[in-house]
Symmetry: C2
Subunit: 474 residues, 2 copies
């Protein structure tokens, strides 16, 4: 068990706390704001309803959350200390001094700063090498990237920790004001303010220009890979020859800074109300989180970008195959994700089939029909499923499947699955499922080889000796 | 049936052609490039494997594609003419003159120009009012937004056409160089070139900073709505007070233009090769398209942004309920989308359940259990499904479901579905499905009201009189 100290709550500190807690770390929070506990609990509520659903395996038991009344009490046992106090260098320097007076000498100290360089943060510190930029993006509990800037040996340790949290550490090669992403965001923000101020479009129209267009490209490939495609077979060089000259054209107003005055604030805040005012911020957060979870899970199925990262994280946390075969097999444990629910507000009937399909995969793996076997040209196909629906389940509920093998002989693998809720062991559904062994070349059934047949015989012998599951006898 | 004339093939013209064709328009293409036919066919192949899968209803029969040897032959019957020739004003003026010499006097003439303003395009034209900017984003067959700039009455007509193609017309309020999105892109491109040139990051690291972070936000909410959330309950005004001052900070190098020389091109093209060179452009296109389809379908399930647009388009194309109940009911017709396939390369067993769930919804709607009924607090829940899997099906295949009602009495609605491939009528799977009428308040079964009971009786009478389906008798 590891401990994280969060200095400064709010949306960013709370997001960090959620990442650590939900990945099994203990978290201690220090924030002088009397509202801190309420604010953190709101962020945590959002995180608990969205982050676990990114996983297709069981997630670790949540760590312990506590609040400390001083930086001293907060940091003394911490492995990782994350500073998210206001963006003023004098405040940050005071906080770092207090942290390093009380923390372990090897504690990693990340700063959530958007703008400051590590050389600025480290000024006057007792152990400057251990202070680094770890800049996250809101919502911190869902967006994986963390910009790391500082001393290389420290960053390597920090990156290893972030890996275990399912995050994407991005080591910035040289320090620069605002790191990487915020420089890009600042460029767009500046141009966007001009477009609104000059009446070319409203805030909503500008958002639409992004989210119905290049935003969809950037969510999965970023800019350079997208432009490489635009260059066609001739690639990036061709693209640059074609678009390089635009750099000199009057395509932006970037050379000018729009005057930041009340009139501009009124214009933009008013348009933003018209665009989004029908939702509260809490509602917008949940809409955003459900969208992010759904899109990231879509990328997971493609094993690409943020989705590939989720698959890597699942692989690290994947439970080993059931070791005792003299009892019903625990073949699945997970949380119901939002993208499995339907207009009735509960898990759609088709996703019960998904659960049983995944559970069947585990039994296949137990007899050696794993990914390598499938890549070798053999697999099992389902030929018959009989599902009874006993109860509803909803997004965020922890569920499991208990499986009994009814027959594992020749080409046939027949299983009986009971799908249950973790909290009360309520039976949600059952499935009597028949798989047959197939050649992926002929797409027809065929006998498995002697090695698999031997494993099947052992499984058959142990499992068919067990009493039939209660729900099957009803 | 409508006709579109595409002047200038290539990736953009080809993308427009695909949008029109797959939405049932006839398309005539004019391009002097001897390779045009091959290039267009490649774009079309990509479009045919991805665009139809965005729809959850049957799509129109594809229009007729032909090639014209002159602009005259190309445009004479066209309702919409789309110009996508190289970005040189003198060339565009010549093309518009030739088009308006031969086209219908009311033909709409959109230009795919990234940079030119409509007032520039219209110079010297016979009917300048009908020439407008209709600026798309690559891939045009998937990304919905089209920036429209020009004379208002013309743009309204153009927007109505784009609506029918499932696109998102965005009328720009005042003309400006490079419209809206490309100004934002130009700002990022410029800052990105500096970051690469100064060795802060590589092209791959910059892409990661986007796609593991704010790119995911932008794909669904854009920038202003995202920042509104960042402002918290205090909203946009608070956000601006906090971040407005950064405008004056040295957070970008935007005031300078990086020198565009061979060294910069070599640096970026080399890094791009290291990042993406393991894939051909064709592979990257397909990865991108599969990602976009999967993410847009994920947003569709959330009914948000680009996904809400897809739902609106489906609703327009939704077939009416089967009118004859004296025969098996055609309850579903669609294409298998990429996100329904699994590691075996075929449609996952759970998605067969999805097909039958959707088919069941149609029968529910026929007896009055539609969205309004569900909103009123009653629905049907599936309690038992028996699925037999007869054959595989793959992404892109057109499929349908034929349904026979076996019982529609009291709380019970029992159906037998046959799921078939359109091309050869091959039986893919069958499902014997039992639904019960429930109160969404008590979550328990209950009798439907007299109005629904009457409709059920009529359906029961007509359908149970039919002979049992062949696959059921086997």
């Amino acid at each position: 068990m590891k401990t994280a100290a969060i200095i400064g709550g709010g949306v960013i500190g709370g997001g960090w706390a959620a990442r650590f807690l939900i990945n099994g770390w203990d978290v201690v929070i220090s924030d002088p704001d009397p509202e801190a506990e309420r604010k953190i609990s709101e962020v945590l509520a959002n995180a608990r309803r969205s982050l676990p659903a990114l996983s297709d395996v069981a997630i670790p038991k949540e760590g312990k959350l506590s609040f400390a009344s001083s930086i001293k009490d907060c940091v003394q046992d911490a492995d990782w200390i994350q500073e998210s106090v206001p963006e003023r260098l004098d405040i940050k320097h005071k906080v770092f001094a207090e942290i390093q007076k009380h923390c372990r000498v090897d504690a990693l100290i990340g700063s959530s700063t958007s703008g400051f360089k590590p050389s600025e943060l480290q000024q006057g510190a007792a152990r400057p090498d251990l202070i680094f930029v770890a800049h996250p993006f809101n919502p911190v509990y869902l967006l994986p990237v963390i910009e790391l800037v500082g001393v290389h040996t420290t960053l390597e340790k920090a990156a290893a920790v972030l890996d275990t949290l399912g995050m994407k550490p991005l080591i910035v090669r040289k320090e620069i004001d605002a790191h990487i992403a915020d420089r890009l965001l600042e460029a767009v923000w500046r141009e966007a303010l001009w477009l609104i101020k000059d009446g070319i479009c409203t805030t909503e129209e500008l958002d639409d220009a992004i989210r119905f267009g290049f935003g969809l490209r950037w969510a999965q490939m970023g800019m350079f890979e997208t432009y490489r495609i635009a260059g066609g077979e001739a690639g990036m060089r061709h693209f640059m020859a074609q678009f390089g000259p635009c750099l000199e054209w009057p395509w932006t107003k970037l050379m000018d800074v729009p005057e930041f005055n009340d009139e501009l604030v009124d214009l933009i805040a008013g348009q933003s109300d018209a665009q989004s005012g029908k939702y509260s911020i809490r509602e917008l957060e949940r809409i955003r989180d459900d969208n992010l979870v759904s899109m990231m899970r879509a990328l997971k199925a493609r094993n690409w970008g943020a989705g590939a990262l989720l698959n890597q994280h699942d692989a690290r946390n994947r439970p080993s195959l059931p070791d005792s075969i003299a009892a019903p097999l625990r073949t699945l444990e997970r949380v119901v994700p939002i993208d499995w629910t339907d207009y009735n507000g509960h898990m759609n009937e088709s996703r019960y089939g998904q659960v049983f399909s995944d559970a069947g995969d585990v039994v296949m793996a137990m007899i050696g029909a794993d990914q390598a076997y499938i890549d070798g040209g053999m697999s099992y196909f389902t030929v018959d499923n009989h599902i009874t629906y006993n109860n509803e389940t909803h997004a965020g509920e922890a569920v499991y499947v208990r499986t009994q093998v009814l027959e594992a002989k020749g080409k046939k693998l027949r299983m009986y699955h009971e799908f249950c809720r973790v909290s009360d062991d309520e039976l949600l559904a059952t499935c009597n499922q028949l798989l047959v062994h197939v050649s992926l070349e002929t797409r027809r059934s065929c006998e498995p080889g002697p090695e698999m047949a031997a494993k099947m015989a052992v499984l058959h012998e142990a499992q068919t000796r067990l009493p039939r599951p209660a729900s099957m006898r009803d």
